[in-house]
Amino acid sequence: MTSAFSILRKIIRPNPKKTGSPQKGARKPENDDSPLLEERLALIKNRLGESNDVVIREFSTGSTGVKMAILFIDGLADKQQINDDIIKPLLSTTIVNHYPEKLTEKNAFDLVRNNIAFFSEINTAPNLTQALKMVLSGDTALFIDGEQKVLVFGTRAWEKRPPSEPETEAAVRGPREGFTETMRTNTSLLRRRIKHENLRIETMMVGRRTGTNVNLVYISDIVNKRTLAEVRRRIAAIDTDAVLESGYIEEYIEDYPFSVFPQIEHTERVDKAAAAVIEGRILIMTDNTPFMLIVPTSFFQFIAAAEDYYERPFIATFLRVLRLFVLNIALFLPAFYVAIITFHQEMLPTPLLLSIAASREGIPFPAVAEALVMEGTFEVLREAGVRLPKTVGQAVSIVGGLVIGDAAIRAGLVSPAMVIIVATTAIATFAIPAYNAAISIRLLRFPLIILAGAMGLYGLICGLILILIHLAGLQSFGVPYLSPLVHGSFEDIVKTFTRPPWFLFIRRPRMLGLQQIRRQATNTFARKPEGSTRELTHEDTGQEE
């Protein structure tokens, strides 16, 4: 199987060396440059065209009249800042003449950078191409006549959504902030949670036309360096024109693109992302999307919810076991029902069998067809509900679920038992915290129903084994997908299926191969009042009467 996948991968993702070379006939932009301002502005107009959001402001300043020009994109750059902190000091004679040196073409570059501009973030671009790249991200470029280097001011500021509650991963208890579409906001949200010097945010640019920033976030003295190098290598190998969502990155870097199962977890929650980074995983932030990727991922991460770690350990453990159970219901229940009804009626207690048989009386279809049709209908209803505006969506669920369901039973087309099964399965699917894991399970339900309809429970077990062979073969960045259940330490297994109290989280997951496995000292919590164990009285309040 692995060999088949590797062949497919070669077809899908050809050798990056070949595709990485520049295209034939592409012009070399480095040659299209000139230190002279007039030529340069002509070149800019040529390259950026007549777009109406490109702003060029020419002026001359100083007693010698040094010619300069400012270039920025309206809407991406902060105009107020440009006016007040770049143009104003440059045009104000009091400021320019304040310095003993006279502003000339030769010293203009250094003088503006070091003295005149009131600006914190000033970069230098060696040529026009570099400068244009930064301008297109929202920076402002200052061209000085006769100077090859370009001053670039960090003026990025655009309309953005404030952090709001993550809709896909709601929690009763926990922070309400979710990631937004703006990278800078996102990094600040994360930095605010991890105030440690070793938090690293590394930038890579992906997408020839979109030039999307992709950040790798990790803690340098915890992360597994081999995994990190592998993530870097895979992202660097992406050669595409556009990256509009982290889903693009996910599909380019995952180990087995032809698997139904998601091999990379994504999250909108800042606390979850921070927890993953501290645990030694790597967070891949993509610009323009609130969904962050977490690698490496194992399958059992999908049954964990952020809230597990904020609620009391007992209820969290109970919920986790419940989710595991629910996962099995979502995957197997309809197929199991079909198998029992079609092949193994003797397994049911007689009274139950009789009532089911009575409800199935007069149903024109075999159980397997009934199940497939009902599951199919349910998927249609869901799809219709998801895409519609919220108000109309409710109408769909009422008409679809209640009216049609009821009518179908009354008309004798489907049995009530089947409706119960399908509805239970649907609810079980919603109880899986990770949406991407839930949809792959929804997809696997159909072949399992067919197998159960053809060969009964034996077919169902064959299907289970097939899924298991597939899952056992998967890896996510060198970590087996089924870990820690396979290949894991006992401690990791316990921590996956239960949620021990926080003071017992002494080590990070062993399967990640981290540099520092220990996360806290044993027994360093102070619980009882020191000295005496008696109850507190009003004398202890420290207030004097």
Binding site: M1, L457, A472, G473
Partner: protein, 371 residues
């Protein structure tokens, strides 16, 4: 190296456990009880001893040839052509066992669950799954087994506990009423299944710490024998030895008796799940071992191309070797002990004898040059 993956000693032990337990739990109780009556559990204990000895021999040989499988060091010890012939004998034994297993599997499903379905449906689907797993590689079989072993052991423990209300401990008495001889004779059948520990000789070079193979394998043997004995004791305690001896699948029958409050009933489907999952692992291990061995004997660079043909061979021979259910019972009761006896008493000791003779008399040093 044909196999690049490595498994941990624990995983290799778990593979042995599932391989041994998967079929024996259904087959052994009836056969041993028919000979040794209520002392059958003693027969299982005695039948385990040859397994330990075989495991010890394999580990001793493995220590002398750390990077080699059974098939490879047979060539080193006996010389090229005799060694290859010797290896083929072992492959034949494994294939024979695989065919028997497959046929038992299909027979059980067909008689106990789906009498109208043709045997070939079960055989071919099982072979297909096992071929798929064997092609995926040793690591994947081992990982799946870790999953399945949880399923198998927890189900077995569950049914045993639930059957406790039906126990009649008096059925287990008297102990050794007819002397030790029937027990010894009955121990031949469990010994056959314990002989499947042979696989350890093939897995050893692919474990991360080969030195631990013996401990892992011995633990596997111990627990397999324990669960087997527990299953047998529960069957005898519920039905009494005379009845058990007439059943074809005593475990299946005793699970059928479980009835807790009219709700927890009809647990035999659990037996089926255990059986299918276990036999699947067993067959995958056998197919993997035989294809690896064949590839090593023939000097192929990949073992994967031979997996499918061998799988088809197993499927076909499972039909050709046995005409009906009676033949297969006889094969297990009468033929298998003699066949395995040859391997226990003649072939495997031969490797040891030749090694000792070459080392002591001709001063040859094994284990010096490593591959």
């Amino acid at each position: 190296m044909l196999e690049k993956g490595k498994i941990s000693p624990r995983q290799s032990g778990e593979l042995l456990f599932t391989t041994i337990l998967a079929t024996s739990i259904l087959i052994v109780p009836a056969v041993t009880t028919s000979i040794a009556a209520q002392d059958a559990w003693l027969a299982i204990m005695i039948g385990t001893i040859p397994g330990f000895v075989l495991l010890g021999i394999l580990c001793w040989l493995g220590r002398k040839h750390p990077a080699q499988t059974l098939f490879q060091y047979a060539e080193t010890i006996l010389g090229k052509w005799p060694g290859k012939f010797f290896g083929l004998l072992y492959i034949w034994l494994l294939l024979q066992t695989a065919a028997t297993t497959t046929r038992q599997f299909s027979d059980y499903l067909s008689t106990a669950f789906m009498p109208l379905t043709p045997l070939s449906v079960f055989t071919l689907s099982l072979i297909f799954l096992s071929v798929f797993a064997a092609i995926s590689g040793l690591e994947i079989i081992a990982r799946m087994n870790e999953f399945i072993i949880l399923l198998v052991t927890s189900f077995l423990v569950l049914v045993t506990v639930l059957s406790l209300p039906n126990w009649e401990p008096a059925n287990l008495l008297p102990v050794l009423a007819r002397g030790i001889m029937p027990v010894l004779r009955a121990s031949a059948t469990p010994a056959v299944f314990m002989g499947e520990v042979l696989v350890a000789g093939i897995l050893r070079p692919y474990t991360t710490r080969p030195g631990r193979t013996f401990v892992a394998g011995a633990t596997a043997l111990f627990f397999a024998a324990l669960l087997l004995a527990v299953g047998l004791v529960s069957a005898i305690a519920i039905f009494g030895p005379t009845l058990v001896a007439t059943f074809r699948f005593p475990l299946h029958m005793f699970v059928r008796t479980i009835n807790i409050g009219d709700i927890l009933t009809r647990f035999e489907v659990i037996v089926m799940v255990t059986w299918v999952a276990g036999v699947f692992i067993k067959l995958s291990v056998f197919l993997y071992s035989t294809s690896l061995g064949l590839a090593q004997i023939l000097g192929l660079r990949q073992y994967r191309p031979v997996v499918f043909p061998l799988g088809i061979m197993v499927a076909v021979s499972s039909f050709l070797f046995f005409d009906n259910i009676v033949v297969i019972s006889d094969a297990i009761r009468l033929v298998a002990p003699r066949l395995y006896g040859i391997y226990y008493l003649v072939l495997t000791p031969l490797l040891v004898i030749v090694t000792v003779v070459r080392e002591k008399i001709f001063g040859h040093k094994f284990g010096e040059k490593r591959q």
